[in-house]
C-alpha cells in the first residue's frame, strides 16, 4: 500500500553455503519469532524490507504536503490545531520508519537521495491534489482509514523494528481517521453547499484510495516471498475488500453516495462488491504522471536543498565542540 510499487520479483542471491542458515531462518519465521537487526537474514529479505520500509517512510513524508496545503486555511482554530498535529504525526511516522530501515544497514542519506532522485517510490495517493477543505476530511477518513487497514497486520510483521514502529504508528493513527470523519460529518450535516463539497471530495478520493492497496492479487508477483517471510499477512485484494466493507456503511451514515454504480451488497458473501478499478490511471500515477507528481518532488527537493545549510551548520558545530573537548583534555 504505502509500498505498492514493491510488486516486483526480488532475485534471491542466497548461495548453497547459506542453505542451512536459510532453513533455520524460515523455521524461526514459521514459529512466529521476530527477526532482529543482528540476526542472519537472506539478502533478499533484507532488500525487500529496505525497499518496503523506506517507501513507507517516503510516503509519510510526502504525505505531509497535500494536508499541509490547508493548514493556513483551516476553517477554525480547532481544525487548524488538529491538522497541524496530524501533519506532525506524519513526519514522526516517517522518522520511526526511516530509523527502522536504517537498522538494516542503509543510511538515511542514501534513502533520502533515492527519493529525491526519483529512484524510490512513495504511495500513489499523495499525487492527488487537495482542492477543497473537504479533501482534508476525506484524507483523514479514507486515506488514513486505508492506511490503518494495511498497517494493523504489519504490527505482526516478522521484522522486529518494523513491527514495533507499526505498533506505535497505529496507536497514533486512530485520531487521524476520527478527525477526518468528524470533518466529513460536519460538512454532510451543514448547508447544501457544504454537503456538496463533501460529496465532491468523496467522488475524487474514493477510487485512488482503492488503488492504495496495490495491484490485484493476480498481477502481484511480489506477494509470494513476502507472505512466506510473514512481511505481508493479507493479500492486496483481501485488504481492499476489508476496507470497502468497513467504509461503505460509514459513507451511508454521512448520507453520501459512493461514486461507483456497480457497488452492491452481496447477501450471500456479506461483502460489498465494487466496480472495476482503473489500473491504467494507477500505473500512470506510479510512473510519475499523476496530477501532482512533479509538484510533490519539487517540494521535497526544495525542502532538502533549503535545509542543507542547517544540516551543515549542525555538523560543523558538533565537530568544533569535539575539537574543543579534545583540546581541553590534552
Amino acid at each position: 500500500m504505502y509500498s505498492q510499487s514493491l510488486n516486483q520479483q526480488v532475485a534471491d542471491t542466497t548461495g548453497p553455503d547459506d542453505a542451512a542458515a536459510a532453513a533455520r531462518f524460515q523455521t524461526r519465521i514459521d514459529a512466529e519469532e521476530r527477526i532482529e537487526p543482528n540476526d542472519w537474514m537472506p539478502a533478499a529479505y533484507r532488500r525487500t524490507l529496505v525497499r518496503q520500509i523506506s517507501q513507507h517512510a517516503h510516503s509519510e513524508i510526502v504525505g505531509m504536503l497535500p494536508e499541509g496545503n490547508w493548514i493556513t486555511r483551516a476553517p477554525s482554530l480547532r481544525r487548524k490545531a488538529a491538522l497541524i498535529a496530524k501533519v506532525q504525526d506524519e513526519c514522526g511516522h516517517g522518522m520511526y520508519l526511516y530509523a527502522a530501515a536504517e537498522t538494516l544497514g542503509v543510511t538515511r542519506e542514501q534513502l533520502v537521495d533515492e527519493l529525491l532522485s526519483g529512484k524510490a517510490k512513495y504511495s500513489s495517493i499523495f499525487n492527488y491534489p487537495t482542492l477543497t477543505w473537504a479533501d482534508i476530511g476525506a484524507i483523514g477518513w479514507l486515506v488514513d482509514g486505508a492506511a490503518i487497514m494495511n498497517q494493523i497486520p504489519l504490527c505482526r510483521c516478522s521484522y522486529g523494528p518494523y513491527s514495533r514502529a507499526m505498533i506505535r504508528v497505529c496507536k497514533e493513527e486512530s485520531f487521524h481517521q476520527r478527525q477526518g470523519y468528524e470533518i466529513m460529518l460536519t460538512l454532510a450535516r451543514g448547508t447544501a453547499a457544504q454537503k456538496a463539497m463533501a460529496q465532491d471530495a468523496l467522488n475524487r478520493w474514493w477510487w485512488p484510495c482503492l488503488m492504495m492497496f496495490g495491484p490485484p492479487d493476480a498481477q502481484s508477483q511480489h506477494s509470494d516471498a513476502s507472505t512466506r517471510w510473514k512481511i505481508k499477512r493479507f493479500s492486496n485484494d483481501a485488504l481492499r475488500q476489508k476496507f470497502v466493507d468497513a467504509t461503505v456503511p460509514q459513507a451511508h451514515f454521512l448520507g453520501l453516495t459512493l461514486p461507483d454504480p456497480a457497488l452492491r451488497f452481496n447477501e450471500a458473501t456479506a461483502h460489498w462488491e465494487f466496480g472495476e478499478i482503473d489500473w491504467t490511471e494507477f500505473k500512470q500515477v506510479l510512473a510519475g504522471n499523476g496530477p501532482c507528481n512533479r509538484d510533490r518532488m519539487a517540494a521535497r527537493r526544495a525542502a532538502h536543498a533549503n535545509g542543507e545549510w542547517v544540516r551543515n551548520a549542525a555538523l560543523a558545530y558538533a565537530a568544533k565542540e569535539r575539537a574543543r573537548a579534545a583540546a581541553g583534555a590534552a
Binding site: 482509514g145 522486529g160 486512530s174 485520531f175 478527525q179 470523519y181 468528524e182 451514515f253
Partner: protein
Amino acid sequence: MSTPTTPLWEVFIRSRTGLAHKHVGSLHAADATLAVQAARDLYTRRGEGNSVWVVPSSAITASDPADKGLMFDPADSKVYRHPTFYEVPDEVGHM
C-alpha cells in the same frame, strides 16, 4: 596508587520475542563482553528475557529533570492529539 574504577554499564532486556529492549538497571564490568555476562547473571535469573543490550553509562545523554516542565508540559494541553477528542456517533461503530 588509587584503585582503578570499573566502568558502569546500563542494561536493557528484551522480555519477549518481538518486544523492545527495556532498561532494567546498571552494573559494573571491565568490558562489554563481561558486561553482557554480568547482566545475564544479575538481571535474568528468573527468565526475565531473551536478549540483553549493554551500553556504557557514559554514552547516555539525559534530559535535565529541572527542564521537565519545559520539555513535557506542552503536550498536556494538546488534547486534540488523542482520538477521543473527536466525536464519532456510536452508530458508525469502531473507528
